[in-house]
Amino acid sequence: MEPILQIKNLTHTYGIGTPFQRSAVEDMSFDVYSGEFLGIIGHTGSGKSTLIQHLNGLLKPTSGQVLLRGKDIWAEPKKIRNVRFQVGLVFQYPEYQLFEETVYKDIAFGPTNMGKRGDELDACVREAARLVGIRDDQLEKSPFELSGGQKRRVALAGVIAMEPQVLVLDEPTAGLDPAGRENLMANIRDYHRNKHTTVILVSHSMDEIAQNVDRILVLKSAHVLMSGTPAEVFARGQELLAAGLDVPQVTRIAMALRERGLAVDPAVYTVRDLERQLLALRKGGAVC
C-alpha cells in the first residue's frame, strides 16, 4: 500500500516569543496508507486537533512537512485551498456550521467552491446525500428544520460532496446516543468500503476505534506514543493504561481473566472474539 499522506517531523508551536509559547505537536512522523481506515486516539491536549488541522493545510507547520502523494502541501502556499478539496475535514459538532437556505445548497457549498457547476454539481450533491442517508424530499428543506442527528449528516455530506481522497473525522459521534453512534459509524464504514477513500477517525473512545479501524495511532503529550493494528496496540495494554489512556472494556476483561490464570489472548478487543476464545477454553479445558 502506498502512503497517501506522510507526516515528517511535524512540529507546531503556538505563541512563539510570548510567555505562552507551547508546542501542541512535537516532532511527529507517521504515514497514512491509501485506502486504509486509520484511528487516532489521545487525550485532550495530546495534539489531536492541532495535528488534523495540518492534514488539510488549515495550520502551517512551524517545522516539518506534510506530504500529500509525495508532494509538500505548502510547496505553493497560494494553492493551499486545493489541498482542502482533497483532504476533507469534518470538525466536531459540524451541525453548528450549517448556514444555507436549503439542505441542497449547503451540501453544494464545498463543490461550488471547487468550481463545479450544473449537472456535475448536482450529481455530487445527490450522491453525497445518498451516502449519508438524506432522502430526496429532505434536500429542499431548510437545514434548521431537521433533527440534530440529521443536521450532522448534512454537514458530513457537505464534505463528502467534495469527493476528497482522504476524509478526516473529528469525533463524528460526539453527543449522539448509542443507537445514533452505531448508525453513523455503520454509514462511515459503508462509505469507506464502497468508495475506497482513506478515512481517518479521531476519537476519545477506545471501544469505538477498536471496532472500526485497520490501524491505530496513539498520541500522548504532543508525541506519537505508538502505532499499529488494533491487536498490536492492545497487546501493549499495560503501557496504554500506564500512560493514562484507556483500553477497550473487553481488553480489560481479558487482562483480568489472565490474572486469574486463564490462557486468554490479552490483545483481544471485541466481545465476539473473547466469547470465541472462552468457548474454546471450555472445550479444551485449559484452565489451571
Binding site: L58, R84, G88, Y96, F99, M114, V159
Partner: protein, 268 residues
C-alpha cells in the same frame, strides 16, 4: 488570529489606580473630559497632560500601551488636524497655496485639537486598563441607580452589558471555529473585491447569529433556574464602598477642573 482583538483590555494590578472605586474613576474621567473641553490655552492643556502623566506613573500601565491605543484612531487624529490646519480662517496667514490657507489660529487650533483627542483617548484607555469590565458595569449601575425612579431599567442594562462582556471571548472562539470549518470546505475570505468579501462572510455570520440566539435562550433558562427574577431584592458579593483615597482623588479632580476653568477665564 481573532483572539488578538482586545477591547480596552484590562491589565490586573495592585496600584492605587486599580484600587480606586470604579465610580470614582468614572467620575474622574467625566471631570477630565469636561476639563479637556474647557481648556483654551497652553497652560490649561499642559496641566491636563501633566495630570495624565502622573496617573500613568501611578498605575504603572506603561506609556507604550497607551500609545498603542491611539493606533486605531490615528486616522481621525490626522484628519482633524489637517481640517483645522487648512480650513480655519484667521488674522494672519502663514502659508498660502491655492485654496489651502494656513492661518495662525488654524495652526494653534490644529495643535490643540490633536492634543485634546490624544489626551482624551489615552485618559479613557487608562481607565479601562485599570478597571475590570465587571467593576465598570457595577460602577455604572450604581451611579445611574438614581434613574430607576424615572423607570430607566438600570439593572437590566447593566446585566445585559456584563453578560455581553462575558460572551465576547466565547463568541470570538466560536467565530474562529466556524471560519476553520468553512475554510475546510474551500471558503475564501481573502480574495475578491469588497462585494465578494462581504458575501463570503455569510457562511460565518449566519451560524454565528443562530448560535448566539440559542445561547441566549439556554442562558436565560439557566439564569431562571438559579432563581434570577430581575433586580428586585438582589444583593451582591462585592459591594462598592468609597474609601478615603476615593474622596482625595475626587477632590483633586475637581481642583484640576477648577484650575483649568480659571485659566480659561484668564485666557491661558
Amino acid at each position: 488570529m481573532l483572539k488578538d482583538i482586545t477591547l480596552g483590555q484590562y491589565f490586573p494590578g495592585d496600584t492605587v489606580a486599580h484600587k480606586l472605586d470604579p465610580r470614582t474613576k468614572i467620575l474622574l474621567v467625566v471631570l477630565y473630559i469636561a476639563a479637556l473641553f474647557s481648556a483654551r490655552g497652553v497652560v490649561g492643556y499642559a496641566i491636563l497632560a501633566l495630570c495624565l502623566a502622573a496617573c500613568v506613573r501611578i498605575s504603572r500601565v506603561g506609556l507604550k500601551a497607551l500609545v498603542r491605543g491611539l493606533k486605531p484612531v490615528l486616522f481621525i487624529i490626522i484628519f482633524t488636524g489637517i481640517l483645522n490646519l487648512f480650513f480655519t480662517p484667521g488674522d494672519h496667514y502663514l502659508l498660502e497655496w491655492g485654496f489651502l490657507k494656513v492661518s495662525d489660529t488654524g495652526l494653534r487650533n490644529a495643535v490643540f485639537m490633536v492634543v485634546r483627542i490624544m489626551l482624551l483617548i489615552m485618559g479613557t484607555f487608562l481607565m479601562t486598563y485599570t478597571t475590570s469590565p465587571i467593576s465598570l458595569t457595577d460602577g455604572l449601575e450604581q451611579l445611574l441607580g438614581g434613574l430607576k425612579r424615572f423607570h430607566v431599567p438600570v439593572h437590566e442594562l447593566a446585566m445585559m452589558m456584563s453578560i455581553a462582556l462575558r460572551f465576547i471571548p466565547t463568541l470570538i472562539e466560536e467565530t474562529d471555529k466556524i471560519m476553520s470549518a468553512q475554510k475546510a470546505r474551500g471558503a475564501d475570505f481573502e480574495s475578491g473585491n469588497l462585494m465578494q468579501k462581504a458575501k463570503a462572510l455569510i457562511p460565518i455570520l449566519v451560524p454565528l447569529f443562530i448560535s448566539a440566539f440559542r445561547r441566549a435562550d439556554e442562558l436565560a433558562v439557566a439564569m431562571e433556574c438559579r432563581c434570577y427574577h430581575g433586580g428586585e431584592g438582589r444583593t451582591k458579593l462585592h459591594v462598592l464602598k468609597y474609601e478615603r483615597r476615593d474622596y482625595v482623588a475626587l477632590f483633586l479632580g475637581v481642583l484640576v477642573l477648577a484650575a483649568v476653568l480659571v485659566l480659561r477665564h484668564m485666557g491661558l
